[in-house]
Amino acid sequence: MSKQKLVIILLLLLTVQATSVFAVQRFPKPEFETGYIQPETQVPSPRTEILAVMDVVVLLLSLSVISWIVLKKRSRNGVFLMSVFSLIYFGFYREGCICAIGSIQNITLALFDYNYILPLTVIAFFIIPLVFTLFFGRTFCAGVCPFGAMQDMVAFRPQKLGSRLNAILGMVPYIYLGLAVLYAATGTDFIICRYDPFVGIFRFNASFSMFVFAGILLLSGIFIARPYCRFLCPYGVLLNWVSRFSRRHITITPAECIQCRLCEDSCPYDAIDFPVTSRNPESRQVMVRKLMLICTLIPFLIVAGGWTGIRLHETLAGVNGKVKLARQLLDPATLRIQSEPFEITAYKSSGKSQMQVNEEASVMLKRFYTGGWILGGFIGLMFGVVIAGRMLNIWRTDYVPNKGTCLSCTRCVDYCPVKSDLSKVNT
């Protein structure tokens, strides 16, 4: 059996794990007639402070070690081993929570809701990877993020996606980030966590759709390396921005590039920028004019995006609990529903008047109106910036990692025959 076939079968089998998610308790509680008092549902107590601090310490140590491995040791095996550790600790032991990706939502909610108490651990998990990225590039993605680690392990046959597909799919994280911030800011939902594809595997319990999503990502991850990290991860957007300014970023070659081209196909993430020594066939004057045009158009794109967001604000607000309840109460016929929805039962016991519910929903709709505007404007801005970025003149003589998209996995390093001393070129 070929290795490729083995891998495909393996991942198909992995998705079968989804079945364990149906092992949820769907039994009604026993009905006792003898004065037995049902015990109260026990809520797990929060993680003790010392263990929470330990998580932060482990994160700090992991980032330090991985940065050292990436930048000093330049060892692919080291990165792999670190990934295994992260997968075990942050993935299976910590069950994917807390994670830097989801912390975006906690931070956002804390900014918009003063009643929300933001744990220091969350702040640490949000900031520390960004700080490390500012200094050393995306070493967090390389070997500390358990999501990345899991995908990295199945990237057996990565294929080039082509610059067009990369460009288009590369826009998705901006949208996802915008939506995650909108829903967190309005206190609606933590969608990154709700649709987290891997937590289900770490915890052995999740919804069926969650596992299917994970299965699809892992299966496609055989051929498209790290699809979640590249085309979905909202935290990756922030890391991408910060990494562009990173002080020390991994280089393909430790010394001068000898233009051997061996690294050309080494990056499974299409994150190597090739030398550009040819002149742009379009004249400088034309390009400047086009660039000025797109820069002038950016405000228009923001407005157009904002306008679209406004049009969509009711749809976006549809998942908000308050809006949903108001909508249900407006329907005299939550028709065809034979049993009362939980929301209605909860509403009845809350003692709230319907007008209060309506008012709360109206306030929420207004927030979504503003949020929809900002979300649309942000997406419009990102499209404008990405298009403008592709108009800049470039002159590059060497093969270099793209500081924004490079995940510092060090695969390319292995391909480079140059060692720190040029005289020791592997032949």
Partner: protein, 605 residues
């Protein structure tokens, strides 16, 4: 000398381990899947054995042995379930371990087989062309996202914000109006119906309103409505009951499953409405009009309220057809008050203690057979369809005060049909039928949503609705299926079987029609294809009701024909009441309330 390891044999070994691991994982998968399917199918607490034991125990509640047996069975079912659950979970862990083994093997193979990369072939420099094309693709993607968003917004936007605003301002206005009522006429009333003195209510009692927000919520939720039977043909007047365990066997003569039977003092063809422990009816003759409240448990008449001395009420009762009578319209209730209307246009609201809250006369209806449209509630609005000769209208009155909140003229002929309130998924529509059209209105403000000319004659049956389709029918006209929307569309029509009194009833798949001469017909709701017809041979005036997957159709002889709401005719039972009936039964909490020619019956186990 240390022996050199052969990489090829190591690779072969690793491949074999990977293969075995995959095989192991595959077996685990099959076991987990089988277990999972079993779990999915399992409904351990509803096994026949358990059910029978429960039933036996309910018949012999003191049987300790049976009780212990039930507990043992329950425990066994739970154990089996949770063991399966544990097996799946453990299997998941084993699966993960075996997959990890495969990954380790494959990674090690990769490590051993590491090759020096080949020098890539010459590449054409397409950097600038690619960038140019990429710009376009990104731009097109952006445009695509905008278009998709707009399409999504178009299909999902339902003006919720506006609806909430309107709703709140309407409720605020209602409170303001209530405050003004005590001192003078409401400003809203002046605006809406200043042309009609007849529509001025007389507030006679405590309006039962409390100041502040509590008063604003003075109407039932849909969940409360479907727990009861507040109007003609059930919740929303659509002929569909959202309850289960409705009796299918009784005998009025022997008393089998008849919980009680009470004589109704005055005649009337209105059907019972039920709210919690109360059943309401009205009765009238040429000289007297009364509203009755029965105890749903015992059948005792808790109060009987006379309806007289209503300002504007005509001195003499109108001449009506004897098959219509003076009290044909069914009452309605919102759980706070009960509302009744009579053939002379007297409209009253009583609280649950029989105290008159308000009363008014809508004007003597110009109706040659006698007025028979039943009342309907929408939130805190009482809706009255007044399709009379010359000046037909539909009006929405405040349930608390009787004030006119809105009034819409209708250019239709006289009709005897009743309003139906449905929700389309996007909005609530009030559906009315009268020659020449079926029309939908906004029940909150009376504005017309749409209408379609598809009905003619002296319309008696009300419409039925299911899954976006409205079904209207009338004798000498046609059965029409109308797909609703801003531009309604006639989906299909059929004139083979028609009804002049019973209304049709529909499920998502089928529409059931009962003709006045007792033939039941089932059509495909979407296509109009006829599935079956069955002749019950007795004249029928009561409208059929869909409950718990069955149709309950009462004929004039008092025989309830109960058949499955399916595309094949399957008779469930035909219990007899023991006296004639032309009224539609009300079904609540496992009981059926049936008004016979003289008595009100409660059927239940």
């Amino acid at each position: 000398m240390k022996e050199q390891k052969n990489p090829a044999s190591t690779i072969r070994l690793l491949r074999q381990i990977a293969f075995v691991s995959i095989l192991f994982a595959a077996i685990l998968c099959i076991l987990i899947l089988v277990n999972w399917f079993q779990l999915q199918r399992a409904d351990p607490l509803n096994t026949p054995v358990l059910k029978t034991t429960i039933e036996r125990l309910s018949n012999n509640p003191d049987d300790q042995q049976l009780r212990d047996q039930l507990r043992t069975l329950d425990l066994l079912a739970r154990k089996a379930y949770f063991t399966s659950q544990w097996q799946i979970c453990t299997g998941g862990y084993l699966l993960l371990i075996s997959i990890l083994v495969v990954v380790i093997c494959l990674k090690t193979i990769d490590f051993i087989q590491k090759k020096i990369p080949d020098l890539p072939g010459a590449k054409t420099d397409t950097f600038w062309i690619d960038r140019k094309i990429n710009r376009k693709w990104v731009a097109f993607t952006g445009i695509g996202i905008v278009l998709i968003s707009l399409v999504l917004a178009f299909f999902t936007h339902d003006e919720l914000g506006k609806m909430l605003g309107e709703e709140n301002s309407r409720q605020t206005d209602t409170i303001t109006d209530q405050g003004l009522t005590k001192n003078g006429p409401s400003s809203r009333q002046n605006n809406v119906s200043r042309n009609s003195d007849l529509l001025t209510p007389v507030t006679t009692g405590d309006t039962n309103t409390k100041p502040g927000l509590q008063a604003l919520n003075d109407f039932p939720t849909w969940a409360e409505i479907i727990e009861n039977y507040p109007s003609f043909r059930g919740p929303g007047g659509n002929g569909v009951v959202y309850q289960k365990n409705i009796p299918t066997n009784w005998d009025g003569k022997t008393g089998k499953n008849i919980k009680w039977k009470t004589t109704v003092p005055l005649p009337g063809y209105n059907s019972p409405v039920v709210w919690n422990d109360r059943v309401f009816l009205s009765g009238a003759n040429e000289t007297k009009r009364e509203v009755y409240s029965f105890d749903a448990s015992t059948g005792k008449i808790l109060w009987a309220a006379r309806v007289d001395k209503i300002p504007g009420s005509p001195e003499k009762a109108p001449a009506v057809n004897k098959e219509t009578g003076q009290a044909a319209p069914t009452l309605t209730t919102d759980g706070r008050r009960v509302y009744a209307i009579f053939a002379n246009g007297d409209l009253v609201a009583f609280d649950f203690d029989g105290k008159l809250i308000w009363a008014r006369n809508l004007g003597l209806p110009a109706n040659h057979y006698g007025y028979s449209s039943s009342l309907m509630m929408y939130r805190d609005l009482l809706i009255v369809q007044y399709d009379q000769r010359g000046s037909a209208f539909v009006v929405g009155l405040s349930g608390k005060t009787g004030e006119t909140v809105w009034k819409t003229s209708r250019n239709v002929k006289v009709s005897w049909a009743s309003p139906v309130v449905i929700h389309t998924g996007k909005r609530t529509e009030l559906l009315l039928a009268a020659e020449p059209f079926v029309a939908a209105y906004n029940p909150a403000n009376g504005k017309e949503f749409w209408k379609l000319d598809c009905i003619s004659g002296e319309v008696g049956p009300s419409v039925a609705y299911a899954d976006g389709i409205v079904f209207s029918v009338n004798d000498y006209s046609k059965l029409a299926a109308v797909q609703i929307g801003e531009t309604p569309k006639l989906l299909w029509e059929n004139s083979d079987y028609l009804s002049d009194v019973p209304s049709p009833v529909a499920s998502d798949k089928y529409v059931f029609l009962l003709t006045s001469y007792g033939t039941a017909v089932c059509y495909d709701a979407k296509t109009g294809a006829k599935y079956w017809e069955h002749d019950f041979e007795n004249t029928t005036y009561a409208s059929p009701v869909l409950a718990d997957g069955k149709i309950y159709a009462m004929d004039k002889q008092g025989i309830m024909h109960i058949f499955k709401a399916d595309k094949e005719f399957s008779l469930v039972s035909e219990p007899k009441l023991g006296e004639g009936s032309v009224c539609t039964p009300a079904m609540v909490n496992g009981k059926i309330f049936i008004r016979g020619d003289k008595n009100l019956y409660c059927v239940g186990k």
